[in-house]
């Protein structure tokens, strides 16, 4: 979720040994180990060969990050920049292809699922080595899952691995086969494994035993103390400036010509202070690709207008959905009479439906996203075709229908002193409330300003209050002192499980009424049931039926009033080959191992 530190980071990282002198001796002793293990698994490497355009080896790619990563340790990483860096350094067993949105083998060569859906058997590739040259074997996999599942490690991935209330059981069958046993069938099936990095036991075991895993692999870690199975490995970190990764010479993918990937020698992440700084760096040619974080539509058109030697790309609507919601939390005795009165309106479904009907979503798409986005009436964006409930029709904007709804719900209109008609509730109090938004997010502030004007036509007096993002989250999630809020969620996967925390009434992101001990309305109870049901269903059709019904309930009750979804926008220098931005994160670096520098003919730098 972009609005939040995402609850389940995609790549897991590695941890680092505290660099103590004592350890040098220990490491030296370890160096002999690769030779021994090699003799043990004496197979040749089982490469994964990728189809597609072949490129040339060599060169350096420079991209920008809007903030410095906090860590390279996948077991604690929560912020987007850390996940981007870790994504280039680590690999998982089964991976979701960002272009096709389907799963495909990664470190796992193949897998089978038992007929009852409870047992997964994974065969791993042989001859694979970590980026420090140490061979990977089944023990590393066992060790990695042990870390994810250990409560004391507090890995954010742990929640994903609790299926049916019980942690997944991981067993080693032989040196190349691992079995996973689930307590209940899991709807999303092998998508579960995406983003769970396989970590090096030889580097992390010691600190795990000492309980110091959370101190492992900070950005300042020595390159020898960190290893992964991803296309790049750590070369250099300069605080406040850049993170430089170098090619992993042991990487296990090849191109169609059987040349070992990745093509590029170096991947450089520059840290820049803001989105505007990112645009300026890209425009001046300092960075090769823009769009690690989605480029805003206005920057996109500024860049498109002055295009010099680069090409901008619109990958279509992504998975991000933006919405307006009202404070429907049970505030108990804490609520002031004023707030209690407002909450009475907010709890009225007709009030929410009227607000939804009055909002001009087309204008939001046009003015906020400059047409590069899609209006939304539900959580499933047009970018997620597989899960969209196509039987739902999108109601057209109608201020009249909204007014009718309000009058049937007991609201009235009164002319005030200046001759404007304002909406009053059944007790005669004027309908006034404020919408909080993040002051650093110009797009959402703009949406709120448009909504303000739309609702003026219903006689509602709305104020927009831009707040610093931290204090906004604090108000919405902790103190619950707000009337209404515009927020967004950017899913990392098209599967409905990725935002299950938003829909379950007990969820920590059930924005309008967070963490209920039991569902406070019948429709929230039904959503809870349906989400649990789809989680345990084995076929796509069954799951889809449940989730279609969830979408229907949401449409009817409007707990979140959906607004719009932006296109995933990015850009690249014309010299970069194999650039295929996806609508799933990481938008532009998902195929970083295949990116390459074209021969200089295409470079038209001014």
């Amino acid at each position: 979720m972009s609005a939040f530190a995402r609850s389940s980071p995609r790549y897991l990282g590695k941890s680092l040994f505290a660099a103590v002198i004592l350890l040098a001796a220990w490491t030296a002793a370890f160096l002999s180990l690769p030779l021994q293990s090699q003799s043990r698994n004496n197979q040749s490497e089982e490469f994964l060969s990728l189809s597609g355009e072949t490129g040339h080896a060599g060169g350096r790619l420079i991209v920008s990050l809007r903030a410095e990563p906090k860590t390279l340790n996948p077991l604690i990483a929560g912020d987007a920049p850390s996940r981007q860096a870790i994504g280039a350094m680590q690999a998982d067993l089964i991976h979701i292809n960002r272009a096709t949105q389907l799963t495909e083998p990664a470190l796992a060569k193949s897998w089978t699922v038992s007929s009852d859906g409870l047992h997964y058997t994974i065969k791993m590739r042989q001859g694979i080595r970590f980026s420090d040259g140490h061979p990977m074997d089944a023990d590393d996999i066992l060790f990695s899952f042990q870390l994810y599942l250990d409560e004391n490690v507090h890995a954010p991935q742990r929640d994903l691995l609790i299926v049916g209330g019980k942690p997944i059981v991981v067993r080693k069958i032989d040196f190349q086969t691992i079995a996973f046993d689930l307590a209940k069938p899991y709807g999303a099936q092998e998508r579960l494994f995406d983003g769970l990095a396989i970590l090096p036991k030889h580097l992390l075991e010691q600190s795990y035993k000492q309980g110091k895993l959370d101190q492992e692999w900070p950005l300042s870690v020595a390159a020898a103390q960190i290893a992964g199975l991803g296309p790049y490995r750590l070369e250099e970190y300069v605080a406040g400036q850049r993170l430089v990764l170098e090619r992993n010479p042991y990487y296990w993918k090849t191109d169609a010509n059987h040349a070992r990937l990745p093509y590029l020698d170096e991947l450089v992440f520059l840290f820049v202070p803001s989105a505007d700084a990112e645009v300026i760096r890209f425009q001046s040619g300092e960075t090769d690709i823009i769009g690690i974080s989605r480029v805003a539509a206005d920057s996109f058109s500024t860049l498109s207008r002055q295009s010099r030697g680069y090409t901008m790309a619109d990958a279509g609507p992504g998975l991000e959905y933006n919405f307006l919601f009202f404070n429907m939390n049970d505030l108990g005795a804490k609520a002031s009479p004023d707030m209690a009165r407002k909450q009475k309106w907010f709890a009225n479904v007709k009030f929410r439906q009227a607000v939804s009907l009055a909002i001009d979503r087309q204008a939001i798409v046009r003015l906020v996203y400059q047409g590069r986005g899609a209006p939304l009436w539900g959580p499933v964006t047009p970018g997620n075709k597989r899960w969209q409930n196509t039987s739902l029709t999108n109601p057209a904007r109608s201020v009249d229908a909204a007014r009718n709804l309000l009058s049937t719900a007991g609201f009235n209109w009164k002319k005030d002193s200046s001759g404007e008609s304002s909406l009053v509730d059944s007790s005669g109090a004027p309908v006034e409330f404020s919408i909080v938004t993040s002051s650093s997010n110009a797009e959402r502030t703009k949406m709120a300003t448009l909504i303000q004007d739309d609702l003026k036509q219903l006689g509602m007096r709305v104020q927009v209050v831009p707040l610093e993002f931290r204090s906004l989250l604090d108000r919405v999630l902790q103190s619950k002192e707000y009337d209404a809020c515009v927020l967004g969620v950017a899913n990392y996967d098209a599967d409905p499980n990725s935002d299950i925390n938003v829909w379950l009434s007990s969820g920590s992101s059930h924005f309008w009424n967070i963490g209920q001990p039991k569902p406070s309305t019948p429709w929230e109870a039904e959503i809870d049931q349906l989400m649990e049901k789809q989680l345990g269903s084995r076929t796509f059709d069954e799951r889809k039926r449940s989730y279609d019904r969830v979408q229907e309930i949401i449409r009817e009750n409007q707990p979140l009033i959906f607004l719009a979804s932006p296109d995933i926008l990015s850009g690249t220098k014309n010299t970069i080959g194999n650039f295929h931005p996806a609508i799933l994160e990481p938008y532009v670096l998902w195929n970083v191992e295949q990116l390459y520098l074209r021969a200089s003919s295409g470079s038209a730098r001014p």
Partner: protein
Amino acid sequence: MNPRRKLVLLLTLLGVAHLVIACGGFFAPYDPTAQDRDRPYAPPMRVHLVNSAGHFHLRPFVYAQQLREGTFDEYVSDTSQPIPLKFFVSGARYKLFGLIPIRIHFFDAEGDAPPVFLLGSDAYGRDLLSRTLYGGQISLLAGLLATALALSVGLLIGSLAGFFGGWTDDLLMRAAELFLALPWLYLLFAIRAFLPLAVSPLQAFFLVVILIGTVGWARPARLIRGVVLSAKERDYVRAARGFGASNIYLLRRHILPQTWNVVLTQAAILVPQYVLAEVTLSFLGLGVPEPAPSWGNILSSLQQYSVLSSYWWMFLPSVAIVCFFLGYLALASALQDVADKSKI
């Protein structure tokens, strides 16, 4: 030029400029919050008297702008569609000087013709000319009120300190130094954090006025204290005291009149400073909230690089600010000249 004539000229010019802003509702063709969602970032329209065929028209006209198909902000002038300007037409309701409700506007397009954006439109398709005029009302009023507040407090404290001297003087002047040293921007952030989440535009306006006004009394107070200090030692003041005049009488009759020059010059310096302070605060989102316009929040969209680099007309409100600023500073120096001359 004779300083006195220069002063009169400047006062006339500034008076006219203020009158235009005060009658902003009349000169602005549209409601400053009215959005035209089909015309975001429309560039300024040129007023023509001669059409594309070379014919002269007595009535000025503009050409309609059409959004180029499939674009967000590229407009082409449609020379086949002239929009004649009408004067003294009925339009959106407004209140002249905030009191008299009327509908007459200086100019507008005829009937159903598309809106006329002489200074272009902003991100929501709001008329920048109307916003600049209405925004000026808020910004200038904030400047004038805050100046009045700062000078009243400064006059009171400065004359008390200068007149009574001793520990009163010490206490008041140390307080003034404290106020000069305050990081007032952070103070404002802190105060804003204590207030309720949503404040209405009117509350926000008075908050800004009161804050910048109370923070700014220290400098004029020190200047006034100096004048009072020297004035109270004059022979005629001592003589009046000798005849039994009370403190109040002395201050009112003999001492305060000596400070008028300083007060007026300070006012001419403070007004533009406070207008700028309001602009800064609104730029930072601490001033008058959207959709109500002020010069500061109109300019705040320039924080975005894409606006800065793509839509030059978004800078136009700053021209108004610069003109007012220069006008007031020239007024301050003219006042100074007149005062110096009268001394000789």
